[in-house]
Structure formats: structure tokens, C-alpha cells
Subunit: 147 residues, 2 copies
């Protein structure tokens, strides 16, 4: 199975990062403003990008340390059965946020596209905490002229 | 072996992208301003970031389509024996640039860091062509407080 990873350092606490990953209000500040359903393990979060978008089931939560989601539903097809893991820890001067999106059936151009775009959204999380403002859809940074 | 990939779309020609990947002048506009040695197959490019930095040997060139480098020397250790491949094609409205850095011995936090940072430099290539100005070291976008 294929995967990709990212890692950023954020001037803020692990609790601040965790909040951005586990609440509708937090998620809507950096990924898409149209986010609903975030809650405890078993909740299904609906992320919408101008109408459609992926759903993820929350499958693991360790406060201020670890958030894991399993893709739910059919959209996008290439994400079926994939999972996303966020892990965070404070290292003294910053909170390190590790991200991985794994269990992809294949490593193709769409995976490469998503890798770059997730990197952009990691920077949106960083900006959200450090500058007080992220860049969630529909004001996200575009990486090509098809999206 | 581990790897990571990126993909961006750039409003410009494949020839413009190829130029940025194969000449000292081009490379110094988006990765590091201290770049020397770019040339034909067999040339070794020295990329320096405030003193030290990696060397890469050019091992394949297909004009306006493909550029491949093999890591040379010892720095950074985790990049030993790794290769970087850039592939580009015009799709009518833009040039798609695919990137991969592969043959890593392990998939760890440093790989995740490099994945995010390469994504930032892909955006620097895009900006170089579309806005006339990239963000090479020492004015690169920082992704944490250790670099």
C-alpha cells in the first residue's frame, strides 16, 4: 500500500493543534469552512468542498497526542479504505505535527497531487495558530489550474 | 525503499520548467541561490545552504520532459543513494510537474520533513514562472523552527 507523510513545527501548544483537529470549529479554520460532525471516536466528519467531499470516521483519539481517521463513503474513490494519522508532541520551542495518509491502493499522479495539497493544508494549520488565520477552502492555496 | 511525491500545475511551458531544473541560473531561482555545476549528464550540481548542502549527479536528461539526479557525497546522510526525478508535460492550459524523491532507506520523521519542504519548493518553482519570483534559500518558506 502507498502513503505520504508531512511534518511541520508550530509555535503553539499541542492542545491548540489537537483542538484544530477534533472540532468542527477548528477543522473549518484550516481545511474547509464547510465541516460538520466532528466528535468522539465513532463520529463521522463530513468535509465539503463546494458541494461534495470526503467523509472520515474518527477511529482513535489520544488528547494532545494522536488523532486517527478512516475514510468513509466513496468519495474520492482513490481514498477508499485509506486512513489519516496526525501525531503531535511539544519539543520545547514548538509543537511538532506529523501527518500521514496511508493505505492507498496505488501511488499515482493523484496521490502526488494530494501529497502536495496536504502539505499546503499543513501550512494552513501552522498559519492558523501562528498568524491567527488559516487558508481553508474556498480560500485555499491552489497548486494547479484544475482544482 | 521509501519515497515521496509531489505534483503541481504551472502556467508556463515545459521548456520554462526544464530550464529551471537544468541550469545554475534556473536552480538558483527556486531552491538555493548558492548553486553551481549544473550541466549535461554526468555533471555534479552543488547545492549549498549557508555553507553545506547536498550534491547531485545528473543521470538523465530528456529535454522538456525528464530530469533525473542521483545523490552524490555524504550530506545529508539520509539522502545517500537516493534519487530525484522530475517529469513534466503540457496539458493544454498548464505544464504538469511531477516530482519524486525515492530510494530512501527508511520512512521516518526526517523523510516527512523533507516531503513537506520539497512541496514548498515545488510551489517556489510555480511562483518563479507565474509571478516572476521564487523563494529560494535563504529566503525560503520555513516549515518549523529548527531549520
Amino acid at each position: 500500500m502507498a502513503e505520504f507523510k508531512h511534518r511541520v513545527g508550530i509555535r503553539g501548544s499541542a492542545a491548540q493543534v489537537y483542538e484544530l483537529l477534533t472540532t468542527d470549529t477548528g477543522l473549518s479554520q484550516w481545511w474547509t469552512t464547510d465541516t460538520h460532525g466532528a466528535g468522539g471516536v465513532g463520529s463521522i466528519i463530513e468535509f465539503r468542498f463546494g458541494g461534495d467531499g470526503p467523509d472520515f470516521e474518527v477511529i482513535e483519539l489520544v488528547p494532545n497526542q494522536r488523532v486517527r481517521w478512516r475514510h468513509s463513503g466513496d468519495m474520492p474513490t482513490a481514498w477508499k479504505d485509506s486512513e489519516i494519522l496526525f501525531e503531535m508532541y511539544e519539543d520545547g520551542k514548538q509543537t511538532i505535527l506529523n501527518f500521514s495518509h496511508y493505505n492507498w491502493a496505488q501511488s499515482d499522479e493523484y496521490l502526488a497531487h494530494c501529497s502536495t495539497k496536504w502539505g499546503v493544508f499543513m501550512m494552513s494549520i501552522k498559519s492558523c495558530i501562528e498568524a491567527g488565520r488559516g487558508q481553508p477552502f474556498p480560500d485555499d492555496v491552489h497548486i494547479d489550474f484544475d482544482e
